[in-house]
């Protein structure tokens, strides 16, 4: 039990840390992030702009809340949803033969390829593990009455 709690805490630190770092870099230069999203050639121009303005803040907030604890299951679910979106976007780029950097970490971004999808898949597993772990009180209340 103690091992499981430590493991989940480790997952929260890793996923939350990655999202805080990624979000802060994008907040610092939203136009560069917008250009990165545009490189995927999926969203219309205006939508790209609004995604670039708001999404990094959602990343920073959900990452922080995941690390700190409050709303951690909501944060984990939101992060999982974002990761599914990122994996889909990179998958689409790979299928369409679009050779671009992922735009995930500002100018430190890496190439949008299968290895990135795998890394996102690992983060998704971590985030979902945190999400499906119900708080102790909730578990007790769901036990059938004698």
């Amino acid at each position: 039990m103690k091992f499981r709690r430590s493991l989940l805490f480790f997952f929260r630190l890793v996923v939350g840390g990655v999202f805080i770092w990624a979000g802060v870099l994008k907040v610092a230069d939203p136009l560069e992030f917008a250009q990165s999203i545009k490189n995927y050639q999926v969203f219309p121009h205006a939508l790209v702009f609004f995604i670039a303005i708001f999404l990094p803040w959602v990343e920073v907030l959900s990452g922080s809340l995941l690390v700190l604890g409050p709303l951690r299951r909501s944060s984990a679910l939101l992060i999982s949803a974002m990761l599914v979106g990122f994996i889909g976007l990179v998958g689409l780029a790979v299928l369409r033969g679009i050779d671009t950097s992922c735009g995930c970490f500002g100018s430190f971004s890496r190439k949008a390829d299968l290895s990135l999808m795998l890394a996102d898949g690992v983060l998704l597993y971590f985030a979902l593990s945190v999400f499906i772990d119900r708080p102790l009180g909730t578990r007790a209340s769901r036990r059938p009455s004698p």
Binding site: E32, Q35, N39, W57, D99, S101
Partner: protein, 160 residues
């Protein structure tokens, strides 16, 4: 979950209020290039590109993959295949490092015309930003790119 999304919307709106205002006023409709930061970069159309080629004043740069460049390019163009220069890791830093020596012999005042495939291609603009950071002050991005140039049957060179 909704509260996190809402907080993100509010924070994004407040912190980037000036960018949002500029967007709503009509800026960034063409590209996400900040004219305040990249004053030396501008977009040009076919006629200006042709004039610059005829005058011989500008250095043409092709940002497409090297095999595309080899198959056909604007006469005299220099091949700087951005995605290949990023290396296997797709790193912009890697591209920056490999760019500098290739442009060392050119004056920073030189007019540069950068193009890629055309249409939705983004490498010409990305390359323009990197080159701008090296100190070049007159960078023009040919919007129509190779697609428009070749479709009109304009002069082209093939590499052997």
């Amino acid at each position: 979950m909704l509260s996190i999304l809402l907080a993100g919307l509010v924070l994004g709106g407040v912190v980037h209020f000036s960018l949002l205002s500029r967007f709503l006023a009509g800026e960034f409709r063409h590209s996400f290039l900040d004219p305040l930061k990249y004053a030396g970069i501008r977009f040009i159309a076919l006629q200006e590109t042709q004039d610059l080629l005829e005058s011989g004043e500008a250095l043409f740069i092709d940002s497409r993959a090297s095999r595309e460049f080899a198959a056909g390019h604007i006469p005299g163009a220099l091949s700087l295949p951005l995605e290949e220069m990023k290396g296997s890791g797709g790193s912009e830093e890697e591209a920056r490092k490999s760019l500098s020596p290739r442009l060392l012999s050119f004056s920073r005042d030189k007019t540069l015309v950068i193009y890629c495939e055309g249409g939705d291609c983004q490498t010409s603009l990305a390359l323009a930003r990197l080159i701008h950071d090296l100190g070049f002050q007159d960078i023009r991005v040919f919007e129509g790119g190779w697609a428009e140039w070749s479709a009109l049957g304009l002069p082209a060179e093939v590499s052997r």
